[in-house]
């Protein structure tokens, strides 16, 4: 006789934990099964060299949804809040962005940025409520769906004639054109470009990169923070919250398959052969792994299988971790600046050029980087006096021509180090240990198909009503008792908790209706 639960959540990523905590809070007997030995999924802190720890995948917090924090009474301890973004220049004439303020650029750019920031945050505020609810169903309209859609239309109309037109004009276009129209300073344009394309298989000239930029602003208007102890502190807090509400979390328990009985989810079987029963299985895994390997296409229908099969989710970002025996010297930076977020993207064309080779399965010879020194404000991450560098390096396509061999990984690491050395000449000699996670490594370590941290490209064809795919955008899969709660479902990736919260709310409200 296998143990029976009200709900089984596959994967203890941040969304899985949010969902579990909310289900447990509603009185459900919840079991969470996590393959890794620690909770958190792609939002974890782990050691990468003796004495050095780092947030291994996601490394900055900017999208955690206030509604999630409020619903769960979550308390996060921050090492740094409202971090500045420093767009690095080799000559030390950096550009600094913080809120609606930008320093190091001409007056007209500074003014223009204020207007840009105001408009973008206003649009993000418009979108945000819709991130925090299940998307309306476009087919067989119910009153609720019509109200939701009507409200969305009304919200857009209420922006006023000018802003409404701007919203409609901008929502599908690329950020490159908009930046070119507004700004002079190349560093500013580079820094904004990078915000629009981080973690995607898109360049600033790709369509709908305004949308990805807006998506980033949904939560805290793009204000970046770093939790004390790295990302694990957020997910550990979520896990505590779930446990406090009565959920059972088992780590080191990979799920082999979701058990399907008579055409409905009935439980899970682990790698070790243990089975757990539940009429409600919620998968925090990405939609492809969920359907293609955990459920198996033979338990779902052909049209749906094909749509899931075709989800675009090939990661294009690598993660670089360096152990340093001291902070490097960087022209034009004070010591305190090491606590900020730095980006290497000299101009908008540089970012687009970095993307070009990725289209053809090659990594960027001149990559863009988002760099942080998390140990600067959080001494727990490195031995005294030593430091950790954590960087996202783009572009590193999942499907690299010739594959991600050790030689390819070494070469890309060298490229990233050389790029860093252009800004911090003494950095290479301070490196005592290196780790580079390619999308293939990310796929392997975090069980994300394609190593794509959004669990599916965040583009208009995989957004809102059609995320992850048409006919399954309301978290319920076309298989009774099976739900998705991860980044592959609406609204998407980033440590936001929105998908997990929405999924839990859908599950609970459906149950109430039944």
């Amino acid at each position: 006789m296998t143990e029976r639960y009200d709900a089984i959540v596959v994967g203890a990523g941040h969304n899985g934990l949010v969902c579990s905590a909310l289900l447990a809070k509603a009185g459900k007997r919840v079991l969470v099964l996590e393959a890794k030995d620690q909770v958190g999924g792609a939002a974890i802190t782990r050691s990468f060299a003796d004495g050095y720890s780092v947030s291994a995948c996601a490394h900055l917090l900017y999208q955690l949804q206030p509604k999630v924090v409020k619903d769960l009474g979550l308390k996060v301890d921050y090492a740094a809040k409202n971090m500045e973004t420093i767009a690095l220049s080799p000559d030390g004439r950096h550009v600094r962005l913080s809120g609606n303020r930008v320093d190091g650029v001409g007056d007209s750019d500074a003014d223009s940025y204020k207007g840009f920031y105001k408009r973008m945050t206003r649009f993000a505020d418009l979108l945000m409520p819709y991130m925090n609810q299940a998307p309306a169903r476009l087919a067989n309209f119910s009153t609720g769906d019509l109200v939701k859609l009507g409200k969305f239309g009304l919200d857009i109309r209420m922006l006023g004639k000018t802003e409404m037109r701007e919203f409609v004009r901008l929502i599908g276009i690329n950020i490159f054109d908009e930046l070119l129209e507004r700004f002079e300073n190349p560093l500013l344009k580079g820094a904004l470009s990078i915000d629009a394309v981080l973690g995607t298989h898109l360049g600033p000239r790709s369509p709908n990169t305004i949308l990805t930029y807006l998506y980033r602003l949904c939560g805290s208007h793009g204000s970046v923070s770093s939790p004390t102890g790295g990302m694990s502190s957020v997910t550990e807090a979520l896990a505590h919250c779930a446990r406090d509400n009565g959920a059972t979390i088992r780590t080191g328990t990979p799920v082999k398959r979701i058990v399907i009985e008579n055409g409905r989810a009935a439980g899970v079987e682990t790698d070790s052969g243990e089975t757990f029963s539940s009429w409600l299985v919620v998968s925090n895994a990405d939609p492809k792994s969920t359907i293609m390997s955990l459920v198996s296409p033979r338990n779902v229908e052909t049209g749906f299988t094909r749509r899931v099969h075709n989800i675009r989710m090939r990661g294009n970002a690598a993660k670089l971790h360096l152990a340093l025996d001291g902070l490097p010297t960087m022209e034009g930076l004070d010591k305190k600046d090491f606590g900020q977020r730095m980006v290497i993207a000299p101009d908008e064309n540089y970012v687009e050029r970095a993307f070009n080779p990725a289209k053809y399965g090659e990594f960027s010879p001149q990559p863009v980087l988002e760099v942080t020194f998390p140990s600067f404000r959080d001494a727990s991450l490195a031995p005294t006096g030593k430091h950790v560098l954590s960087a996202i390096v783009q572009y590193a396509p999942y499907q690299l021509k010739g594959g991600w061999t050790d030689a390819a990984r070494d070469e890309f690491t060298k490229i990233a180090l050389n790029k860093l050395a252009e800004y911090a000449p003494d950095l290479p000699e301070r490196v005592t240990a290196t780790e580079l996670l390619t999308p293939v490594d990310i796929e392997k370590e975090f069980h994300i198909t394609g190593g794509h941290w959004h669990h599916g490209e965040l583009t208009l064809d995989q957004f809102l009503f059609i995320r992850p795919v048409g006919g399954a955008a309301q978290y319920a899969m076309p298989l009774d008792g099976l739900y998705l709660c991860g980044a592959g479902s609406h609204p998407g990736g980033g440590v936001s908790g929105a998908a997990g919260r929405n999924a839990a709310r859908v599950i609970l409200s459906r149950e109430k209706a039944a």
Binding site: M292, P297, R298, N299, V300, T302
Partner: protein
């Protein structure tokens, strides 16, 4: 663009040289790229060959897929609505397949050739859908339309003809069964299937042996009234047998643009092919929902008064002396053998229950002038033509 650039030659079936010798009318049409004869000498006489002796129809243009691999059975079982586990080697299944919305893509026959090896035949082409359905299955789909020549040999004397051809043991072949024979060193597959509603067989052989088979068959059938037939005669017979035709009685759902123009198996009278005991198949969820909620349409077999075929007619229901339009005729024919005026049609539920009287508005032309009449039409249950000889084993020797 020159004519050379746009023209595509009609494909000639391997039986074409033989058919051309018999052809008096030069009346051909296109069927999936092939030339297919409307009739060879007289469509009515050809029709009577089906019902009174033996008719031979060239099936080669029928789209044929070979389905092999360890998961072939699981694959088909999810693809079609009926339970394929019940179809043992040596058996043939009539089946429909649906999309996720439970709407019919097409119907066809699936031949379980050998353990785990199948052939699927349909009027239309479906490679794209069949390939999509392979995701997650270890199965190979290959198109063998051109490799396999097919002949329908149908009519009361068809068994006698094939017996004379020397197919020993054919008398044991049950309805919807298949057997393999040797024909001049090649494998000849014979199935007791057809599209005429009569005693009949379908012969399948490698294309290179097609002419030899034709010659042997016509030689064996000389004394049994064997005749080559075209599509007009076949169409007449299939309406009598109440078989559905794609693009007439239903539209493959992937070809429809407007909502409500496709049909579910229930709406085509094929509910008997839907097996909800299977935990999963394409369209299951939607069909279960339709079963709960009720269907929108119903396919009806109509026995109409008079002798004027009701082609393209509206179907009406009469209530309190007023006619209300409830559907339309999709196929119609005067049946010489039944002496009945027949039609297949589609009507809105709840109209068209067996025994209901409906009305069709028939337009006909006499010496240039058009007339119309309201004819009463009774909804019948069984196919119009379904003789016992069709199923009996061993088959009768006529």
């Amino acid at each position: 663009m020159s004519i050379q650039e746009v023209q595509q030659d009609r494909i000639k079936s391997p039986f074409y040289p033989r058919q051309a010798e018999l052809d008096k009318l030069n009346q051909w049409h296109e069927w999936k790229g092939y030339s297919s004869a409307d009739a060879f000498y007289d469509s009515e006489l050809e029709y009577f060959a089906i019902r009174n002796s033996t008719a031979v129809f060239d099936l080669t243009p029928m789209t044929k897929y070979r389905i092999t691999g360890p998961d072939a059975l699981d694959y088909l079982d999810r693809l079609v609505t009926r339970d394929m586990r019940k179809i043992k080697p040596g058996r043939v299944a009539y089946a429909v397949w649906c999309d996720d919305e439970g709407q019919v893509i097409d119907d066809g026959t699936i031949f379980h050739l050998k353990e785990g090896e199948y052939r699927l035949c349909s009027q239309e082409r479906h490679m794209e859908w069949f390939i999509a359905a392979t995701i997650g299955f270890d199965v190979t789909i290959s198109l063998e339309t051109a490799d396999i020549a097919g002949l329908a040999v149908q009519g009361p004397t068809s068994f006698s003809v094939l017996n004379a051809l020397g197919l020993d043991g054919l008398e044991n072949l049950n309805f919807f069964g298949l057997m393999h024979f040797d024909f001049e060193g090649s494998e000849l597959m014979v199935s007791r299937t057809g599209y005429t509603g009569d005693l009949g067989y379908e012969l399948w052989i490698g294309a290179s042996k097609a002419e030899a088979l034709w010659d042997a068959l016509f030689e064996a059938g000389r004394l049994y009234g064997i005749k080559a037939i075209g599509t007009i005669a076949l169409e007449q017979a299939r309406i009598e047998a109440a078989y559905l035709a794609a693009y007439a009685d239903f539209l493959p759902c992937q070809e429809t643009v407007r909502t409500g123009r496709s049909r579910s198996p229930f709406e085509l009278g094929l509910g008997w092919l839907v097996d909800f005991k299977k935990p999963n198949f394409n369209g299951r969820r939607a069909l279960a929902e339709e079963k709960r909620r009720g269907s929108t349409w119903r396919l009806v077999k109509l026995d109409i008064e008079g002798n004027k075929p009701a082609n393209h007619s509206y179907i009406f229901a009469k209530k309190y002396g007023r006619y209300r339009q409830v559907g339309f005729v999709t196929s119609a024919a005067w049946s010489p053998i039944c002496k009945q005026n027949l039609a297949l049609g589609t009507v809105r539920m709840p109209h068209g229950a067996v025994g209901d009287t409906l009305w069709v508005e028939i337009y006909y032309q006499r010496e240039m002038h058009w007339s119309r009449m309201m004819a009463s039409a009774e909804v019948v249950d069984k196919p119009f033509w379904d003789p016992e000889r069709r199923r009996v084993t061993p088959p009768g020797v006529y």
